[in-house]
Amino acid sequence: MASSRLEILNDGGLRHDARRPYELRSLSLELSTHPNADGSSTVSQGLTTVSASVFGPREPKQRAGSVHDKASVVVEVGVAPWAGAREVRRTRGDKRLLEIAAAIRQTFEPVIMTHLYPRSEIAVHIQVISADGGILPTAINATTLALVDAGISLIDYVTSLSLGLHLTQPLLDLSAPEEADLPTLVVAALPSGKVTLAQMETRLHVDRFEEMLTLGVEGCGVLKTEMDRVVKDRTTRVVERMDKVIQGRITGD
């Protein structure tokens, strides 16, 4: 599927989709997109769209899943048949999907204040609606927002970004064709700079790794600012609306 004739970075310093190396794809963040979930979100980065729903904290579906002093986190990932994700099979037991699910769980276990919810379960359902590279980082971003929406206590925002290396030039936020051709690093970080996930499936030189990781963390910071703005916007609107409702009750409308 990787077409060798695709120019990763042309002489004009532009990528195949006309972005420059340090430009992220257009980002859209939406909260409470799923009516039945306790918290949900839909995140699009370019043509990759992922929706996440959070259920819980609730009683574990299976007894065995409960831990006496903290909440357990369960993650499930599904890919819509029309998503166009050629790299994963859509069957439920697919190894790639299980791996993505495990990566998300490991990213969030240290960030969710699980000790506040003993013997309970927090279930995260990820649905990839369309795929064009960077499923994992988009899913992590969506999960963060869904958890925030569900009102679950987090240490801080977790944001995530993929980045690749073309010769010596790092490229941020890879699309599917770029992902197929370049060594890729996925970074998830807290605003403090703490890295909660760094995943690589291809070889990358040790000297470059540090530079890329720093850059990834920096990019995560940019995403966090955007996320923070969206969350605060929405909260402001909710508060305003609640104010109105309360005012209405008082005035008896």
């Binding site: 989709d17 972005r19 794809r25």
Partner: protein
């Protein structure tokens, strides 16, 4: 938010997309996989406002990233007003030679649509376009039209990709017209597509086709360019006459056919002996129609004919020059094409039904004098159609139109093929440039380099900038300097180098000494080229694309700039040099006890020639240096014996030495075969050992990407013909079950009366083998690493980094393997290694051929003075002649007879009552004859004994 202090890169931003961009934001296309499944792809794309227009003094674009004031004054030397040219893809694809010849001050605007389409259609042309763009002398501006908001576009309903691209290019013209300030130079669209021109004119653009454009230039410019215009051979010629060839099948049919096994895909290989015959992967193509417009090296698709139509390969020698003498350029008179019924076993026969990829390039040709109009022999400048005969006999004649035919008659010229229509017996081409007078040294040399695609331009400034700033005063810095980090001081070792006389690029040196424990320490020291040539700088890229140094008889085309090759990296005596050393500890039987690899500093004590070293060894001296050579020699003899036991082949190909009277004159005085001394073998054994040790080390450390060299086992069928000849003519057998068996049976092929017989059989056996090649260790299975000729399970090239690029890669990998430096990322990528090695393999092959051709040229010159009588051996029989090999000159030639009887079964011919067969010794007179039409000198052989043809 976490930010590092003052980031060294532009700020990270998130692109925003406005609703208005939505139509342009996505690009959807379908693609068919090899299995025939159709996949749909959806790609995102952004449109930008920060693409600069490149116009000098443009207020809006001046601050945008990448802005350069390239577009200055419009071009004036023409009938049209001052203008810039915008070119479309077809111009790049067909008129590249013209573009390269355009005056540098003619400003070109190249839309990215053109660049992208070129890249998609032809990578070689894309690379040439890139060179054009990067040339600072020229005014070439790339306009990223697909990326800029005003000119971005997508296919409309019912619009094909070509129409869309044409529209995108027209949009570019509109943009410039609006964007540039009033009074700007004219924007002229250059296109050879009539429909596009009509549309452009309807939209109010100025446009022009190449022919009219060049005709409109001022005469001084025009005369240089006019012959370069492709399409000078008009459409009328093409449609006239009747169909000569079948049309090719469509791509889909071809693909389907290859998949089902109905068709076979392979490279077209024209026969050396018969211009009407060729082969594709062992399938015979007989006759012009069957070859169906294939040219040497094209990747073609062949359909196998039914078994009833299979034929035996021709046993005649058919000379194209003689046969086609009367063909007329303008009129396609069907010349009689005699297809003879050949006796012998029919082989699979087929016909070409399609071409996957053309291998056309510029060919060195002579103008065929007979195709000129009689009146044009006088200096008339009218345009006429003529034939150009390529130098190589495997290529067809090319028809071209030129206005300067009379001046070109005695010149070597460069011609490219443009097209070959099914209505024309010959391909159409155009003149690129003249190389010089036939048989002048310069023209011959350049034509040789061009013919074998040797990059021979001088090194550019960017490349020379990568050399150490000290130039030739560079010295190994005193101890303690950074250069000495992890480097061993071996300056006290008694190291010497042994090379051919006059060698300037000394890349290896040796030493040996006895150790206190009774073992022997032997070392090979190789110039540390990787210290100077760093990965991925311009010098490295140039070396990678040159691949190897090319040795011609009187010239050397270096892979690395001379400062490195013949000075800083050359392990000259009496100076300190950086080296990469392989040091073994060996026991008395030359078995390796221990090996280590280390970067070092050495000081060579002497630079011997093979002869001097031999004399020193055999002489009476007993100083350490002489002892060291003797020690090396005893080890080498044991190493060689061990290698032979393992089944290494000693093959033979004649090596000649040309004596030149002086370096200025081109006249060779004498030709002799190279003499081999014991010391040749000494150096060879240690180089082999170093290569093998290094190969094992890098393969162990980098199993997926180690650069290795292998020599595949030749298929048994390759030897069938030789086995049959040997059996029938001599009653000898050749056992090809393994390299050891082959080596032994070759040893047994001796004729006590004729010592040279064995050499002849070896030469013929060598021709049955495959070529050795470089490869990345991850791309084949471990069993396939074997080097068949050397009978070693693993091999690489480490010992000549000055003249071979693969060795430079191996040096880098070995340095990483001993933790001296980290491995450059490019050497970890399997695909990058493969790509690089493919180029190196190709260059290596061509360099060998160029070297041989150069020797042949000088042999020809030596013969021009006086014909020589030499002994020759028959290597092949034909129905009308013999192919003989003259070992004294390393020449192969044909001898033709009129009345002969031919016995194909037993490889014998009978001429005038005398029977001659393969392997027989004959005496021939070798001379040079000039072809009257082409002025091409050709080696001609005439038999003297046992049949005297000269009588």
């Amino acid at each position: 938010m976490m930010t590092t202090a003052g980031p060294s890169h532009p700020p990270i931003t998130i692109l925003k997309r406005t609703r208005a961009d939505l139509g342009l934001a996505q690009n959807k296309f379908l693609k068919k996989t090899a299995k025939g499944k159709v996949l749909s792809f959806l790609r995102e794309r952004y449109v930008r406002d920060d693409i600069p227009c490149g116009f000098e003094g443009c207020d809006q674009c001046r601050d945008l990233p990448g802005y350069k004031p390239v577009l200055q004054k419009g071009y004036r030397h023409t009938k049209i007003d001052p203008h810039y040219l915008v070119i479309d893809t077809n111009i790049v694809l067909h008129q590249m030679d013209l573009l390269e010849a355009f005056p540098p001050d003619l400003a070109l605007i190249i839309p990215s649509t053109t660049i992208r389409e070129t890249r998609h259609r032809s990578l070689p042309l894309y690379n040439r376009l890139q060179q054009l763009v990067q040339d600072d002398e020229r005014k070439v501006w790339i306009w990223w039209n697909e990326e800029r908001r005003e000119t971005a576009t997508h296919a409309e309903e019912n619009e094909g990709p070509n129409d869309r691209n044409d529209r995108a290019i027209r949009l570019t013209c509109h943009f410039y017209n609006q964007h540039l300030p009033i009074g700007h130079p004219l924007i002229v669209l250059l296109t050879d597509d009539r429909r596009n021109r009509e549309l452009a004119e309807a939209e109010g653009l100025v446009c022009c086709n190449t022919k009219t454009y060049v005709d409109g230039l001022v005469p001084e410019v025009r005369q240089d360019l006019v012959d370069l215009v492709v399409g000078g051979v008009d459409a009328e010629v093409v449609t006239r006459g009747r169909r000569v060839y079948e049309e090719y099948l469509s791509q889909d049919v071809l693909n389907a056919g290859i998949k089902t096994g109905r068709f076979v895909q392979g490279y077209f290989n024209a026969s050396q002996y018969n211009y009407l015959e060729g082969t594709v992967s062992g399938i015979l193509l007989a006759g012009r129609q069957a070859m169906n417009r294939s040219v040497q090296g094209d990747l073609v698709v062949v359909e196998l004919l039914p078994k009833a139509e299979w034929r035996a390969p021709g046993q005649d020698v058919v000379d194209a020059d003689v046969d086609q003498r009367n063909d007329d350029v303008e009129n396609e008179v069907e010349a009689k094409e005699k297809i003879q019924e050949n006796v012998g076993r029919p082989v699979p026969t087929g016909k070409v039904v399609g071409v996957v990829k053309r291998n056309w390039r510029a060919y060195v040709c002579h103008l065929d004098r007979s195709s000129l109009l009689p009146e044009a022999q006088l200096a008339s400048l009218s345009q006429q159609t003529v034939f150009a005969t390529p130098l190589s006999v495997t290529l067809p004649r090319i028809r071209l139109r030129t206005r300067q035919a009379p001046t070109l008659v005695d010149q070597k010229i460069l011609v490219t093929i443009d097209s070959w229509s099914p209505f024309s017996r010959y391909p159409d081409g155009h003149f690129v440039r003249a190389l010089g007078k036939v048989e002048s040294k310069e023209a011959e040399q350049e034509s040789l380099l061009l013919e074998y695609e040797v990059p021979y331009r001088p090194f550019g400034k960017a490349i020379l900038n990568c050399l150490p700033v000290e130039g030739d005063s560079w010295k190994v810095p005193p101890k303690g300097d950074l250069v000495w980090r992890d480097r061993e001081d071996l300056r006290d070792l008694i190291v010497c180098s042994i090379d051919p006389p006059g060698c300037q690029d000394i890349d290896d040196a040796l030493h040996a000494r006895e150790l206190p424990n009774g073992n022997i320490e032997a070392g090979v020291h190789i110039a540390d080229v990787s210290h100077f040539v760093l990965p991925n700088n311009p010098m490295d890229s140039e070396a990678a694309s040159r691949g190897t140094t090319v040795y011609l008889v009187d010239k050397r085309i270096d892979m690395l700039p001379a400062l490195l090759g013949t000075n800083l990296c050359s392990l000259r005596p009496f100076v300190e040099r950086l080296a990469f050393s392989v040091i073994w500890e060996m026991n008395d039987d030359a078995e390796i006890v221990n090996v280590r690899f280390v970067k070092s500093v050495i000081a060579s004590k002497e630079a011997f020639t093979y002869e001097a070293a031999q004399n020193r060894k055999d002489g009476p001296l007993k100083d350490p240096l002489t002892q060291s050579i003797r020690l090396l020699n005893t080890l080498a003899i044991k190493l060689k014996a061990a290698r032979m036991r393992a089944g290494a082949l000693s093959l033979s190909s004649p090596e000649l030495k040309i004596h030149l009277a002086s370096s200025e004159s081109a006249e060779p005085i004498d030709v002799e075969q190279k003499q081999l001394r014991e010391t040749n073998s000494l150096v060879e054994e240690f180089m082999l050992l170093a290569n093998i040790s290094v190969a094992a080390k890098i393969q162990e450390t980098f199993p997926a990407t180690a650069v290795l060299r292998r020599h595949g086992e030749p298929p048994k069928t390759n030897f069938e013909a030789l086995q049959d000849i040997l059996h029938k003519r001599r009653g000898m057998t050749l056992d090809v079950s393994s390299s050891k068996a082959l080596a032994e049976s070759l040893d047994a092929c001796v004729d006590p009366q004729r010592p040279e017989f064995n050499t002849l059989v070896r030469i013929m056996a060598t021709r049955c083998m495959l070529a050795a090649e470089y490869f990345g260790s991850g791309s084949v299975s471990k069993e396939a690493y074997r080097h068949y000729g050397l009978a070693t399970p693993i091999y690489t090239h480490f010992t000549s980094p000055i003249r071979r690029y693969a060795d430079v890669l191996v040096h880098r990998q070995l340095a990483a393997a001993i933790n001296y430096t980290p491995l450059h990322p490019s050497l970890q990528s399997k695909s990058h290694i493969e790509k690089t090695l493919n180029v190196v393999n190709k260059r290596h092959r061509l360099a060998q051929m160029a070297g041989r051709a150069s020797v042949e040229f000088y042999v020809g010159l030596a013969l021009k003075g006086a014909a020589r009588r030499e002994d020759a051996f028959v290597i092949r029989t034909f129905r009308n002649g013999l192919a003989v090999f003259v070992s004294a000159l390393g020449l192969e030639g044909l001898i033709m007879f009129k009345d002969i009887e031919y016995d194909a079964e037993n490889y014998i011919i009978t001429v005038g009552g005398v029977t001659i067969g393969v392997f027989d010794r004959v005496r021939v007179e070798v001379g040079v004859e000039k072809d009257k039409n082409t002025q091409r000198g050709k080696v001609k052989m005439v038999m003297i004994e046992p049949v005297n043809q000269t009588l």
